[in-house]
Every structure is written in C-alpha cells, then in structure tokens.
Symmetry: none
Subunit: 137 residues, 2 copies
Amino acid sequence: MGAPKQKWTAEEEAALKAGVVKHGSGKWRTILTDPEFSSILRTRSNVDLKDKWRNINVTAVWGSRQKAKLALKKNLALPAPKTNNNQLTVSKVVQREDILDVKPLAVSSGTLHSPNSKEQVSRFKNFQLNISAIYYQ
Amino acid sequence: MGAPKQKWTAEEEAALKAGVVKHGSGKWRTILTDPEFSSILRTRSNVDLKDKWRNINVTAVWGSRQKAKLALKKNLALPAPKTNNNQLTVSKVVQREDILDVKPLAVSSGTLHSPNSKEQVSRFKNFQLNISAIYYQ
DNA sequence: CTGTAGGGCTAGGGTTGA
DNA sequence: TTCAACCCTAGCCCTACA
C-alpha cells in the first residue's frame, strides 16, 4: 500500500502484449523505451510490465476455480436474452469451462482511444488522504 | 470440505488490536511474526488478520460490511450534489511523516465513537463524511 | 548502479456456512 | 436473509543475482 492501485487499462495491456511480440518477453526496459509504447505505458515501470505479464500468463493458463465460478455465475445472471420480438426465450446452459477468453497475443497498437480521460492520479510516496462519503438509510 | 470455521476468540482479537496499535494497520505479517503476538495468533494467517480487522472496523461504524458496500454503491450512483445542497470543501495540510495510520477507533470497550484527534467525522442526518490521513514510509 | 526473475504481501472483491 | 470467516488474485514490494 503506497499509492492507490493503478489498474491496467485495456489499452495498456494491449501495448504490453504488442511490446512483448516486438521485443520479446523479459525486455521490459526496451519495451518501455520504444516510442511506439512509451506514451501509453508512461506511468508504468519495467517491473510493472514484468508483473502484469506474469498475471496475464497466469490467467491464460488457468485452472482457476473462482474464474470458472464467476463465468458460471455470469452466465446464470444473464437476463433472458432479449430478442426483438415476442418469442419464447430459451435459456442456454453452458457447461464448458475450458473456453473463455481468447487471448490476442498480437494486438496491434492501432488507434485505441482511452475510454475516458484517464487522469493521472498523483501518487504520493508517503502520504495518503482518504475522503469517503457514505450515505445510509 | 475446507477447514471448519474458526471463530475468533476475545484473546485473539485483543492481540490483533494490540498488534495494530504497535505496528500499524496493514502490517499483518509483521504483527504475526512479533513474538508478543505470534503465540496467540499462531493459527492465523496474515490474510486472516486483515480480514478480521476489516470486520472489526466495519462493524464498529456500520452494522455490517454488506450495508457499507451498499451504501457506497448508492453513493457512487448518486449524482454529484448540487450547489444548493451540501457542498463541502475540505482541505488538509500535512507535514509530518512520523505518524502511522489512524485507524484503531474500534477498541474493545462498549463506547466507541468519539474518534481520536487524527480523524474527523462529520455527521448529517443520513450522510457521513469520513476523512482519514494515512502516513507510511 | 541498472534490470530482471521470482517469491511475498496487501487490498479489495467475492464466496460460504451457520 | 445476514454476516463473520474464509477464498482468490491484481497490483505492488522485496531480495537475489547478473
């Protein structure tokens, strides 16, 4: 806990993947220095890249049980498919757990635009001020 | 299947609170390895300590973690307060580095509330603003 | 000193059994 | 349904090593 966690955006992840394709895994500093990615990954360190890559691969291999659960839950939680008209809705039951998430290894760094203006949160090194407003009934 | 639930004893809880006072919140592994508490908390993991501390604090302010979560969501879903209403501006200047976290407002006694001087709490009829400054090195 | 690899830790969301 | 206890893991830190 030093600074609030900075979650990886899809754009950053894509840039990392493209960087690994271009320079190879383990060349974190090189990827960071590459002008093709340096702007997107400006806020990340080489160690961050390494850690994120590790998470990506771990997730890809997966024998995780929670993710399977989540996938199942997600499926169950889906509202009945809303088709345009009035027709019987058929609920589908997915039984496979081995699919999920095709990982695009080579995502070109096209013009992915940030979902929003990801403002750069200032990250203090040894101080954090939390303000939370909580409403209750 | 898993281990049966191991309820926290009063002694364990006291040790945890003392550990937080001594080492600070978030230093779960440190508390665990402190000879002063290691014997009492022998059967607990660092994650257990973290979870228990969360329950203690959440219970002290609210009735439950669920309510807190709901309240938070409710808060996030609310549009920004309009000018007409309660516009609060809070500023705080910090200079010291030697303080360490200000969380132990949930010490055993029956009379909680009246947080210490490091934390300010403003209460409205159905609204609470929490401000906490956390220092660390 | 710089960078990488890998183990470890915490925060926070999620799950579960009583 | 509620909630204390417990699980899962992204992100970040620490240390060894080259």
